[in-house]
């Protein structure tokens, strides 16, 4: 949470803005550089980690092409090793890979013979749609339930917190299958295999959003309860503010901060964990591609996806920082000086 970005919405003269920008340029450049380093490191670590896994890549490629599980002779492996450059020293392979990254080349899939950028590109949009929607829906569910049930008497509060505890602990696969059986089979409102259209996206989104909502709700509720006991809330109430007003205008801002922090993590986790929803609903996405690529030791594809997921984390954390400032002006004040 230490990334300093000034988001004060004040009106400035053009000259002053330019000055400001010039002053901040090195800082911004630093941010971009460190982000790039993080991404290269992520891709490199994945690259080497995959080489450490026991089992030879050429063997995997041959077994995959033939649906077998056997050992192959050196003579059979040699052409594959040569074709994919496995016969070069590992360091050379790595330099070649990182060099390619700077030219936007993530390599070629060992199994599909397509550029990895294309393998991922096809799947990225459905994945982003799924995960972002899931995050938004999870937030809506969590906020609605928290606002309606926190500190509303023992019964209602208990109902709210039990709902959160239960949904947070539900395995997503189970949620997915129950939703499928209820809303696609028993009451066929939604399609079983939805593809990427809007209607078909509803159940996959809920599959991911419900457990996440429980989780976000739990965190928010704890904070909300604490805030409602704060002196400033009592002050507000003594001024004659309505309960709804207190909840929306005072308590909410404070209590969503931990959940916002978690959202950065959740976005990254969702994009790689979406495979469960993708499998159940036959939906394309990089989760599925990742699982297949790991299974088939398709090193360039796995590294490429890790790179994309890392990028999502980086961007998500930047957004979290921004959101923090919008929600909690104290941060902007403490970093940006007097208001």
């Amino acid at each position: 949470m230490s990334i300093a970005l000034d988001t004060r919405p004040s009106v400035r003269s053009g000259a002053r803005a330019a000055q400001e920008a010039a002053r901040k340029a090195p800082a911004l450049l630093g941010k971009v550089l460190s982000a790039v380093l993080v991404l290269i490191a992520a891709a490199s670590v994945t690259f080497f980690a995959q080489l450490l896994i026991p089992g030879d890549r050429a063997t995997t490629i041959l077994n995959l092409q033939t649906g077998r599980s056997q050992k192959w002779s050196a003579a059979e492996l040699a052409p594959v090793n040569e074709k994919f450059g496995f016969d070069h020293p590992v360091l050379v392979q790595w330099l070649h890979y990182v060099g390619g990254l700077f030219q936007g080349d993530l390599g070629t899939s060992f199994t599909q013979y397509r550029p990895v950028t294309q393998v991922i590109g096809d799947q990225l949009l459905p994945s982003l749609v799924l995960t972002l929607s899931a995050l938004v829906v999870a937030w809506l569910l969590a906020l609605t339930i928290t606002l309606l049930t926190v500190k509303r008497g023992r019964f209602v509060s208990g109902l709210g917190s039990s709902w959160e505890a239960v949904t947070a602990s539900l395995p997503p696969y189970w949620v997915g299958v129950v939703l499928l059986v209820l809303f696609a089979v028993k009451w066929p409102i939604f399609p079983v295999i939805g593809g990427t259209d809007l209607w078909g996206t509803v159940l996959p989104v809920l599959t991911l959003a419900i457990p996440l909502a429980g989780f976000l709700g739990q965190v928010t509720r704890d904070e909300f309860e604490k805030v409602l006991d704060q002196p400033f809330v009592t002050t507000a109430r003594t001024r004659g503010m309505s309960d709804t007003g207190v909840r929306l205008r005072h308590a909410l801002r404070h209590s969503v901060l931990p959940a916002i922090t978690l959202s950065g993590w959740a976005l990254g986790a969702l994009i790689s964990g979406a495979v469960i929803a993708e499998n159940i609903y036959g939906r394309p996405g990089i989760g599925q591609v990742l699982v297949t690529a790991v299974n088939t030791r398709d090193v360039p594809t796995v590294s490429g996806i890790v790179l994309v997921v890392a990028a999502v984390y980086v961007v998500a954390n930047l957004l979290v920082d921004l959101a923090f400032r919008l929600v909690d002006p104290r941060l902007a004040v403490s970093k940006g000086g007097q208001r």
Partner: protein, 545 residues
Amino acid sequence: MKTPLHRLLALGATAVLATGTLTACGSSDESANGGTPVKGGTIVYAHEQEPPCIFGGWIQQAYISRQVLDGLVTLDDNDQVQPWLATAWKVSPDGKTYTFTLKDGVKFTDGTPLDAEAVAYNFDYWENKGGNSTAKVSIDPYFKSAKAIDATHVEITLTHPYTPFLTLITQGYFGIQSPTALKNRSAKENCEQPIGSGGFTVAEWKHGQEVILKKNPNYTSWPATAKHQGPAIVDEVQWKFVPDGVSRYASLTTGQTDVVYDVPTVNWKEAESKFDTTLYITPGKPVSAYINTVKGVFTDKLVRQAFSYGADRKSAVEAGFHGVIPYEGNGAVSQATPDYNADAAKDYAYDPDKANALLDQAGWTGRDSDGYRTKNGKQLFVKFPYPAGAVINTEGAVVLQVLQEQWKKIGFNVKLIPATQAEVFAGKYSGPDAYDASPFYWTSPSPSILWIVWRPSTEANPNGNNQSFYNNDELARVIDEANTSTDPAKASELYQQAQQIISDNAVTLPLYTQNSTYAAAKDLKDFWLEKSQGEPVFADAYFTK
């Protein structure tokens, strides 16, 4: 059969009536019995696994390439070879030369003529250019050359007579592709969009989702086993990938798909009453465990036999698969394979007393504190990794766990290790040090699969498929003699003898047949499976109204 309009109608109907199952076309009453045939439409098919390419040596690739590529010959339901691209063939008296007469005027969908040159090129591509290693291994020791005599006659020469040759080339791995496409296009294009002369062409592959197959309107080369003459009746097949079994079956019951692959066995009874179902028992090596004969406890034949006798595999299979999937007692080839030895399948009926006696005889007479047998202070331990997922599904894993308990009673400590697909393909469990027993299957329409699996592995000519590491020269001789015999009766006798040798030596642990199950909506007619390995065929299928 899903257009947005259909879906809206379906939605409206269910919202108002709250009825249950909708059929694919939205009409439901007449479709149960006959009905009026409809031309056109889209078949939506839910398959399980998405292969990396549409052509290759894995059955997952053959399933889909069968829609796009034609073969020289095909297999009918009685295991007889029938004409396809080849209208006739002649075998020389010495059994070494096959001359095929090709159907005249057939063109690939890129316009290249499908002539003798093209066929010869494909044989060379499989055999010498790494085009298809399963095609290669099927004909390998016997294939010599392929050459075009004239435009419509191609001659295949073998090194020895090889009776199963025609049967083997009926598999999808032997689909003929356009040489122009193979030579001039990138690996990626040939992977994604093979060019054949088949009933469909690959229009688009939406990775992670579906392959769109479009009707080839100029189709002229249907096989003799086709259910109608002419191009495909439907316009399109949407070949969807739905890895989850619950969803696949649900997509059929809700009318969203017309055909599904691999129905979960718990749903099989219901599926049989609601849909047109097919249970295809795959010929070739069934799901049976390779037994490591060179290292560990199973180097002793008595211990191997005790292992086979020592657990009630038949009951475990029947319970584990809800009576849907048959037990297979012959570990060498399945009951769907020609020249199957049914007697060998009865060799190791559950007999714990006999198993105990064999173990005593083998010297495993001690017992440790956990009740496992010991010999010279060593525990009777069996490392049993199994490929979890596509080979041994969750039901299969339950069967293994039941067996594990029974083996424990006679003193075996069997450690089951679920191996991920990544580990399996990476060959983690592939050497003599990696396991004592490990199950796998290998589909093939011919008992000549015995040669692929049991050919002795030598320094000069290693055989990675012989995963029991069992070199038996007598067995090799019998199989080779069967393969090269020109007398079918003699060949059959020899193949059965080979299965008996494998059974007598207990070098596999028989488990169950490898199967494909399919369920199709009742308003879809003439959807069928070809015989060689159960590839679905959509070119004859039509809807009724």
